[in-house]
């Protein structure tokens, strides 16, 4: 019995051959790790963890609609998350208002997505993949689109890194110094929307937080250095993504449980370390 369960979870026969098949997934996972690790630092400093979840549900709705209407999952996910991100960005000034708006948007997005999926009569194997993640081999065109989007997000983040941190952590002084709060908020939300759309396709919308938030939260437990936090966060996210994909290879389980578990364990470890050696 135990043995059955284990072999269901882990099966490493012909591992080498499998690895070649999922080369694209691993590349996509690593790229997503870099994106998630970096953007997570700003998500934490802007206190937007909940918003990430809201955006990902709308991204799921978009992806499902894309599947149903035949315009493609990628386009759909992008549209859904950008709409959600911009809505939240406009509401960004007041946290309380923003959080209730997200709480309203989230179930709506989820419901809409489930509706689209149930109406969809095509192949149902990857239906739930959008919610819980999948390991379907990422084909070349999809990999390319993911890499392009990831590159846009990373460059966009690095170029505006200082002003984004400044407006997040010290909004009054940043405004006094002439930084446009709303403009930067919308700029960031667009990048967050793009990052979410990429994540949804790999880890699924329910588990996006484990890539876009958990690694940065873990890094902040052990450091406050402006250099070390992003570096650790990226390292954690890449470890979780690539590690999760490689572990998932063997069995019939989607990659997300592996990714989320690794991510969670890293966070736990950092919390424990942080207790003995506070980051402050």
């Amino acid at each position: 019995m135990t043995h059955d369960l284990l072999s269901e979870l882990f099966q490493f026969n012909n591992y080498g051959e499998l690895l070649v098949l999922v080369r694209n997934s691993i590349i996509a996972g690593a790229a997503l790790g870099v994106v998630g690790g970096l953007i997570g630092v700003l998500v934490m400093s802007r206190d937007l963890a909940f918003a990430v979840h809201g955006v990902s549900e709308l991204s799921f709705a978009g992806a499902s609609a894309g599947l149903l209407l035949g315009i493609g999952v990628v386009t759909g996910a992008l549209t859904g998350s950008l709409v959600a991100a911009l809505l939240i960005g406009f509401l960004g000034s007041r946290a309380r208002d923003r959080n209730s708006a997200i709480a309203v948007l989230m179930p709506f997005g989820l419901g809409l997505g489930i509706l689209c999926l149930s109406l969809y009569s095509g192949r149902s194997a990857n239906k739930f993949g959008l919610l819980t993640g999948q390991i379907v081999a990422v084909d070349d065109p999809r990999l390319h689109s993911m890499l392009v989007i990831s590159a846009i997000v990373v460059v966009g983040l690095l170029v505006a890194w200082r002003p984004l941190l400044f407006t997040s952590l010290d909004p009054e002084v940043a405004s006094a110094r002439g930084l446009p709060r709303l403009g930067l908020s919308l700029y960031f939300m667009v990048l967050l929307g793009l990052a979410t759309a990429v994540s949804v396709q790999i880890v699924g919308s329910l588990l996006v937080l484990s890539v876009l938030v958990t690694p940065a939260a873990a890094a902040l437990r052990v450091s406050r250095s402006p250099v070390l936090v992003p570096v650790l966060s990226v390292a954690f996210a890449v470890t979780a993504m690539v590690g999760g994909i490689m572990l998932a290879l063997g069995g019939n389980i989607p990659i997300s449980p592996f990714v989320t578990t690794i991510s969670f364990l890293i966070y736990l470890t950092c919390r424990v370390i942080g207790r003995f050696r506070p980051a402050a």
């Binding site: 890194w161 200082r162 941190l165 952590l169 010290d170 002439g178 930084l179 406050r224 402006p226 402050a280």
Partner: protein
């Protein structure tokens, strides 16, 4: 600029000039008739009850709120939004314990936080930040998170952040409000010294004049839509404040402190200057 500026040859010593300035929101006049010239090295305190428009006054200087009337010039030019020759210390919000920013980075924002581009490590910047922190006696906290600091420590870091950009004018919004007496003294002495060391104009909102009584050159008293400008002994008198509030207000000097009594109830809410510190005690 060859517009009809009333000051053809701006005095290099003058940092800030208000001429017959007013701010109105629709029908309501927040304040009007403000004439003020602030020179380098001068310390002017802004007093007045809550809601009288003290913060709005600072916002006009920051270019965040346009004047409804009159003119305002900063270093001989109209104030513009985001002028980095102005240092600004906003009203203190108690930073969340987990706010992920250390003293060093907060001060660093004062140098290049507004600048886009790759955030590469920069030695010259590091040296400037360390010097700014040392100058306010906060060198030892460089690597501490802002949320773990006491109110007084946070204010020192704020002062370092405002001064590191080498401003000509320093605006402070209630920098002493959340501090105990000891830290009030420390922070006000630090501000007082900075305006002399850096030869900058210092404009500071305070609800209580007493911690800075011996330091200020002049005060601006804002109340009931009007403004009075002058030295402490010119403005903080029974006659002037009674005229301003349109009711009898008594100004008392008790052991070198100034206590204002009889400010109308609705004007006095949270106005510690109106009753000295003891207003904090119930009844």
């Amino acid at each position: 600029m060859s517009d009809a500026a009333p000051d053809p040859a701006p005095d290099p010593d003058v940092v800030l000039t208000f001429r017959d300035a007013a701010v109105r929101f629709g029908e309501r006049t927040l304040w009007s008739g403000l004439d003020l010239t602030l020179r380098r090295g001068e310390f002017v305190a802004i007093l007045g009850p809550n809601g009288s428009g003290k913060t709005s006054l600072l916002r006009t200087v920051l270019g965040q709120l346009p004047l409804s009337d009159g003119s305002l010039s900063f270093l001989g030019r109209p104030a513009r939004h985001g002028d980095r020759r102005i240092g600004y210390i906003p009203q203190q919000r108690i930073a969340d314990r987990d706010t992920p920013v250390r003293a060093r980075e907060l001060v660093g924002f004062g140098i290049d936080g507004h600048r886009f581009g790759l955030p590469l490590p920069n030695r010259a910047k590091r040296v400037r930040v360390a010097a700014a922190l040392d100058a306010v006696g906060a060198g030892a906290w460089a690597k501490r998170s802002i949320g773990t600091m006491s109110g007084g420590e946070q204010q020192r870091v704020r002062i370092a952040q405002a001064l590191v950009g080498r401003p000509d004018l320093l605006l402070c919004d209630e920098p002493l409000s959340s501090l105990d007496l000891l830290h009030q003294r420390g922070v006000s002495q630090l501000l007082d010294r900075s305006r002399k060391d850096h030869d900058l104009g210092l404009l500071m909102i305070t609800h209580d004049i007493n911690p800075v009584l011996t330091m200020v050159d002049r005060v601006v008293y804002v109340a009931a839509g009007q403004v009075r400008v002058g030295t402490v002994s010119e403005v903080l008198t029974t006659d002037v404040l009674s005229d301003l509030y349109q009711t009898t207000v008594e100004v008392l000097r008790v052991q070198g402190r100034i206590v204002v009594a009889g400010v109308p109830r609705d004007e006095a809410s949270g106005h510690l200057g109106a009753d000295d510190h003891h207003e904090q005690a119930p009844l």
